[in-house]
Symmetry: C2
Subunit: 357 residues, 2 copies
Amino acid sequence: MSEPPRAAAPATTVTAGALHRFTRDVFVRAGMPEVDAAVVADVLVWADLRGVDTHGVSRIPMYLRLIDDGDLNLTPSIKIRTETSASILVDADRAAGPIAMTTAMNAAMRKARDAGVGLGLVRATTHTAALGYYTLMAAQEGMAAVALAASMPFMAYHGTRAPGVSTNPLSIAVPGGERGPVVLDMATGVVARGKLVQARKTGQPIPPGWALDRDGNPTTDPQAALIPLPLGGPKGSGLSLMIELITSLVVSNPIIAGALEGEADGHRHRQNGLVLAIDLRRFGDPEVFRSEVDRVIAALKALPRAPGVLEILMPGERGARALAARTRDGIPLPRPIVDELRGVAARFGVGMLPSAP
Amino acid sequence: MSEPPRAAAPATTVTAGALHRFTRDVFVRAGMPEVDAAVVADVLVWADLRGVDTHGVSRIPMYLRLIDDGDLNLTPSIKIRTETSASILVDADRAAGPIAMTTAMNAAMRKARDAGVGLGLVRATTHTAALGYYTLMAAQEGMAAVALAASMPFMAYHGTRAPGVSTNPLSIAVPGGERGPVVLDMATGVVARGKLVQARKTGQPIPPGWALDRDGNPTTDPQAALIPLPLGGPKGSGLSLMIELITSLVVSNPIIAGALEGEADGHRHRQNGLVLAIDLRRFGDPEVFRSEVDRVIAALKALPRAPGVLEILMPGERGARALAARTRDGIPLPRPIVDELRGVAARFGVGMLPSAP
């Protein structure tokens, strides 16, 4: 769907539908099959709807760069390398992360229906985007789910002054009752890399303990901050390393070692993933499960609040509210993102996004 | 094996063998079958060997209290509630944690050999002790493994000033090559509760951000510190909550809600567990896996160190060294522990521990 580009725009608000069509059309014009482009658009726009702007359409230019560099394969032949009664190992052939991860989660859910638990391993994909999308797929089908992703080293390993591990994220979700599912989606860094990028753009000093500069010295200068620090020191970098070991090494596609050793292809973008689904129906009454989720949430929300805290939030609750508000009111896109997408629109001859009414 | 009690002793060093016999004999005299008592002794003494003193024989008095209170069942009839091709749900009937968790991990490993992945769920056990013991069981059999445990609320949920969740721990282990397996075993609090207990004993002020006092105010006074704070605020308490949801609620034995609501039995000690084993042979060459583990460790250890850091450590490395040293030199037991164990020895007519030669 093609519309004429609009004049130089400030920050603008767009509907999820328009953003989805735009994203899909860009990837189709770039050479991706339409059905795949729609999945990538689903996952990126979902992140924008949830308020996770660092994992939404702001990634389109990066995805296009990966395509240009030959790191993201537009027409992968995704193959099953290993299949057992409860697991599947998918060789993603450098497919876009959302394609590989939804494939793996759908397979894990199929396995879980038969075997109680299903494991989906993903070898050689690219940026996996927001993991909460995949664990919520399972939660919406009445399953509990876990997702891990392993990527290139850019966070300090505890005790070092250099990038050694990624901020490898981890997501866990379960279905809920009237309050909806609960979904945790967290990186193993003190803060997501996106927060450092944001601070660089706004010029706001960052708190001590967030990052090191290029020489490995602690800094609060957002322009100098380069190497994020791990969550809780050894815990965060240890967890990140274990994600590399239990994901990349299990699928025979190590990422960290080659990058640190300076291997020829060691710095090419690549990611691996692991998803797990547990079919709750096999272990108890799913309706009781749902009501127990609501019950523990109610109990936690009734606890006395710390000074200055207006409300006690559950994992994913802020995102669920953003989704409701942004579905209704549209998705605000900051000026720099709009400018980048304008360039993308021009390159691929795709109509620029219309502002929401 | 019974020896005459020794005269009032200071801190002392004992051999692992003597400590194992002592622990086993105590639980046998308390009424536990000898085979089970040996497993409990294995797991507790292993923690002492690894230097995790908070999860070793210092727990014997607590275990005996659980027995006295009827919370720990000495002669449980452990039943399989659900069994699928890749999973098992074990109703532990209030068995000692080490009995229930080793049962579940053995079952998960059996399932993983057939199905690639095996899930073991544990309903209604007691203190699960050091989770690294169970994940290393799998690593020693060439499997990657995960273990989670859910217990009573005593840590602050982010944004509250009251106990809302546990410091629910998480362990991940993989086999290694010449450097041995890698095992992460971490709690979701900033620090393990044992560290607060230690600080209370030594009187050392604790760093800000570790704990709240009984009124929910931040404190650095070790005597006032009561409520541990979560790792990284919302990340730690969110992860802890997800462990309750994906463990306790899946096995239909919720812990948090009842405790917070003040239910009649809400404060009775109970725990639930989840273990997962992945059979590496099904997904790749296990020898390559092992050498890749050594390779990434070597790359991380070669990174430039932060000021004052003498060595870059891997998850579980300190514990592996302690195990080697304490196996050779014996396990040092602090005076207060020795005094407590002396009382235990007297109560059960078990000979007190001989010092290592």
